[in-house]
Symmetry: C2
Subunit: 206 residues, 2 copies
């Protein structure tokens, strides 16, 4: 098989990660998502837990609350955070480009589609679904215990990802022109995986 890199952007709770795993399995190629954290830690020198907590989020002085503001810590903390955020983005960009260079793989999130937009072997996928389906998935598969909690998580994670994407790519998250294919996961997880494999063949045959 010729090389194909499949990048998956996904709305929170849309099932994009599971779809990506299935695609990787079907094509017999590596899958990169949380396992990128170790590599980013190694490349950036930052702590794994820190990366895990702050990935795909943008810095905001509001994050540290009033205690820090009153103590006058904000400027130093903000500067430190900005610097770490940039370190993380640079490290993961390098890793993603290196992985794409090496061979076929599936990469979830982290502006992968943007980083590889000029690579003709890259298929850029966006997975979405309506709010109701995503809230149901968040309740089933994540830590949310109540409907309100699931809704808050959905809003907050989507907002973070959109802000992160827009900050680093200067394009709008979810703008279809950034993707080769966009899929509503209500078509079914296995079905979406099959459709993406079909689309991957189109990229390979180009």
């Amino acid at each position: 098989m010729d090389k194909v890199i499949i990048t998956i952007s996904r709305e929170y709770g849309s099932g994009g990660r599971i779809i990506g795993e299935k695609v990787a399995e079907m094509l017999g190629i590596p899958f990169y998502n949380h396992n990128l954290i170790d590599m980013i830690a190694h490349e950036s020198g930052l702590d794994k837990d820190y990366i895990s907590q702050w990935q795909e989020r943008v810095s905001s002085p509001m994050l540290w609350g009033w205690d820090a503001a009153i103590a006058g810590f904000i400027p130093e903390m903000t500067a430190g955070y900005y610097s770490n955020e940039l370190k993380m983005f640079e490290a993961q960009s390098k890793i993603i480009r290196d992985l794409a260079e090496k061979g076929s793989c599936v990469i979830v999130g982290r502006c992968g589609g943007y980083l590889l937009k000029n690579d003709p072997s890259c298929l850029r996928v966006f997975i979405y679904s309506d709010k109701e389906s995503r809230i149901n998935r968040i309740l089933e598969e994540y830590d949310a215990e109540t409907l309100d909690q699931a809704e808050d998580m959905l809003k907050s994670v989507d907002k973070s990802r959109a802000a992160y994407h827009e900050k680093y790519t200067l394009t709008e998250w979810g703008d279809y022109l950034n993707y080769d294919i966009a899929l509503d996961s209500k078509l079914g997880i296995d079905e979406c995986a099959k459709i993406i494999v079909e689309a991957a063949k189109a990229k390979i045959n180009k």
Copy 2:
């Protein structure tokens, strides 16, 4: 095969019509696009040429120019046009719903996806591409003779379709949440058709 209705919304010059034709051919099901005009004429009592000229466009008093305005004709003409526009929309809505009732088919444009959004056998597709690719297709396949002319046609038809869609569906044209699948036709015309057939199978198996 179980019933599947495939509705295709498309940016002008994206190749959505040709992709739809190929999908219909691959699945051996009827294809509806310009051939809907006769049916709409029959259902609405309006003239075929009138329908052909004004379909997927919204009424605007500006269309008749200053001569008509000076002559004081605008109110009558506007009222007549609004009434015909509504007649057209009602006739085509009835026809599209009747066709979907009867059996599998591919329907291009005319808010088909919106009209059948609650039909579980309907796969709602959106075909798009970047401006450059669409302008190239407009130069190759339509009446445009110069780059400027192709660009004007692209802007004008997209604007009409978007305004028409938004007026009659109250949703934004090109908002991915209105579609099950969105495809950049740069993946290839045949390839897009194959991907849509794969997506149609997902609908059929639901």
